[in-house]
Amino acid sequence: MNSIILQGATRLLVALILLFSVYMLLRGHNQPGGGFIAGLIAAAAFILYALAWGMAAARASLRVAPARLAAAGALLAAAAGSLAALAGLPPFTGLWLFIGGSETAKGIPISNVLLFDTGIYLAVVGSVLTLFFVLEED
């Protein structure tokens, strides 16, 4: 749309929104947020990018085709759910690992649940962007 104001603001906003999206993703398990909300926010960042700088630029910055991103996200979610197989548990069973845990604090949690949420995040970003690009460009 070629507005220097929009473009200028976007320089900072895109980074901020992306950052915020990761924040929402990571805290989702304990506070409002989660993969889906975060994915929508991240998609909003790229949509903003595209509105300000054009579709081509936004696509270029994304580096992968959004549909692929979506498929990869869904596969990641499936893989995260399938990790339970390694422990001989049913699909989508949460596996938790607490790094540096002590008597009082559990330490930093690493889990396939977060991986699952990340898959959701990527799938949502990819899907929403696919939709946006196709509706905008066709």
């Binding site: 304990n30 506070q31 409002p32 889906f36 949502v124 899907s127 939709l131 196709v134 509706l135 066709d138």
Partner: protein, 122 residues
């Protein structure tokens, strides 16, 4: 509280249905949005309402100290919102495609798949 939501859902349903019955596909789409929101609110009300206590467990506790809002309907609504988003977006694309291909958004004149003669001699 739920009673009010029930009435609201009914009203949204009514307006949504009225819109969906219009010949213009965009209006159908708007009606769908209304109906979809109404369905979500219905789920919300069905799980019964709790004022202003989100289903979060505060730090340091293992269970919520006070009665919190019912979490399961919220999860259901989240899923439904997302699914609704996908369906609505696809429908939007279809409407666009429809206008591009058929040159109209008036569903009364969309008779390509079921031409007036197909059911007999119109």
């Amino acid at each position: 509280m739920e009673t009010a939501l029930a009435v609201l859902v009914g009203a949204m349903t009514a307006t949504g249905v009225y819109l969906m019955l219009a010949p213009n596909l965009l209006r159908y789409l708007f009606g769908l949005i209304l109906l979809s929101n109404a369905a979500n609110l219905a789920i919300f009300a069905a799980g019964r309402l709790t004022r202003a206590v989100p289903p979060l467990v505060p730090e340091g506790l293992d269970v919520p100290p006070v009665p919190v809002a019912n979490a399961l309907p919220q999860a259901m609504i989240l899923t439904a919102i997302v699914i609704g988003f996908g369906l609505l977006a696809f429908t939007l694309a279809l409407v666009v495609s429809c206008y591009r291909q058929l040159g109209t958004l008036n569903s009364d004149t969309m008779r390509l798949a079921e031409p007036p003669a197909a059911g007999g001699e119109h």
